[in-house]
């Protein structure tokens, strides 16, 4: 899995996920600033997010965008700084993406459904 077309598509996905992340981070920060106001406990947060499909969908997509974006970047860094070839670097990055996605989605599940 290499070659200019793959690399162009990876770049495209990283760019698209970066655009999504920029939006998600802004919404996340703004929501936090608004929700906290005079102080907010974990119980209060969970009280609002449990059963909320909007929060679930928002943070689910957020997690996936972060997994895609970070892993493509890490594959590049692994090639440049650790001297790995494209294949092993991408395999390592895919494992990292999977770990990010699983851990992140588990957290989203805990926030919304558990």
């Amino acid at each position: 899995m290499s070659g200019p077309v793959t690399e162009a598509k990876l770049w495209y996905w990283q760019r698209v996920s970066a655009m999504a992340l920029a939006l998600f981070v802004l919404v996340h920060l703004a929501t936090m600033a608004w929700a906290v106001r005079g102080g907010l406990s974990a119980a209060e947060i969970l009280g609002r997010t449990r059963g909320s499909w909007v929060a679930g969908a928002f943070y689910g997509v957020f997690v996936m965008a972060a997994a895609v974006h970070a892993s493509i970047g890490l594959a590049t860094i692994a090639q440049e700084w650790l001297g790995l070839r494209a294949g092993p670097a991408r395999a390592l990055a895919a494992a990292f993406a999977l770990a990010l996605a699983v851990l992140g989605l588990r957290a989203v599940y805990a926030l919304v459904a558990a």
Binding site: P4, V5, T6, A8, W11, Y12, Q79, E80
Partner: protein
């Protein structure tokens, strides 16, 4: 201004070392003047390269106090730290000897980025009429003044990290050709500059743009290539 400069000059090849020379300090002295003085008065075996002395030929680029520059257009007063100078060959290029680098690999990369113009017209055709205000021509104009000095190439971290990367100068050349409406090898060129040996390796750090003595922004051209390549890849035209 003191009477004397202490100038450390790289001697030998990759396994060489700096040798210190004492050079008289003059007003309006360029770094190239300093190197020439050393060669004429202290050590005639010092190898370096220059031709025009006025910033037209691009052959005198060297690393001055850690930064790639044209030595002919760099005044000592602008770069000397105290009265000390350190002059080395351009980075990211094989050293022939002392301050002279082997530029063959640099220009081979231009060829790999499909830097040759390919036209459809013959000498019997009339001149092409290109609107100077068209967006493509404006984009080509922004990069066309490159004289191939290698300063951007020597300043680029990605060139140092990725031996296969064609580098900012080659990509700038490709960008000017992609925007040349007479050229007929656009698709082939996009394929040549796509991927991790081409435009996608660029991190947009902008060292090339910061250091280019001609004020060209290879970073902008590379970003343009990324957009064109992505569009072609998504449409299955790459």
């Amino acid at each position: 201004m003191s009477e004397e400069l202490v100038v450390k000059v790289w001697r030998g090849r990759e396994d060489g070392a700096f040798v210190a020379y004492r050079v008289p300090r003059r007003e309006n002295q360029t770094v190239l003047d300093v190197v020439t003085w050393i060669q004429r008065h202290l050590d005639p075996s010092l190898a370096y390269r220059y031709a025009c002395r006025v910033g037209m030929c691009g052959s005198c680029a060297m690393t001055v106090n850690g930064v790639a520059r044209w030595t002919c257009r760099t005044h000592v007063s602008r770069v000397a730290k105290g009265e000390a100078l350190e002059i080395a060959p351009l980075a990211n290029l094989p050293i022939v000897r002392d301050l002279a680098t082997d530029m063959r690999d640099f220009f081979d990369r231009w060829a790999r980025a499909r830097g040759q113009f390919t036209g459809a017209a013959t000498r019997h055709d009339d001149f092409a009429r290109v609107d100077p205000a068209s967006p493509a021509r404006v984009a080509a104009d922004a990069g066309i003044e490159c004289i191939g000095c290698g300063v951007c190439h020597a300043s680029c971290d990605v060139v140092a990290w990725r031996p296969a990367f064609v580098g900012p100068a080659a990509l700038n050349r490709a960008w000017t050709l992609v925007n040349d409406e007479r050229d007929t090898a656009g698709r082939e060129r996009l394929r040549a500059v796509a991927g991790d040996a081409g435009c996608h390796a660029c991190h947009t750090q902008g060292a090339c743009t910061e250091r280019c003595p001609k004020g060209i922004a290879p970073t902008a051209g590379i970003a343009g290539l990324k957009r064109l390549v992505a569009r072609a890849a998504v449409r299955g035209e790459l």
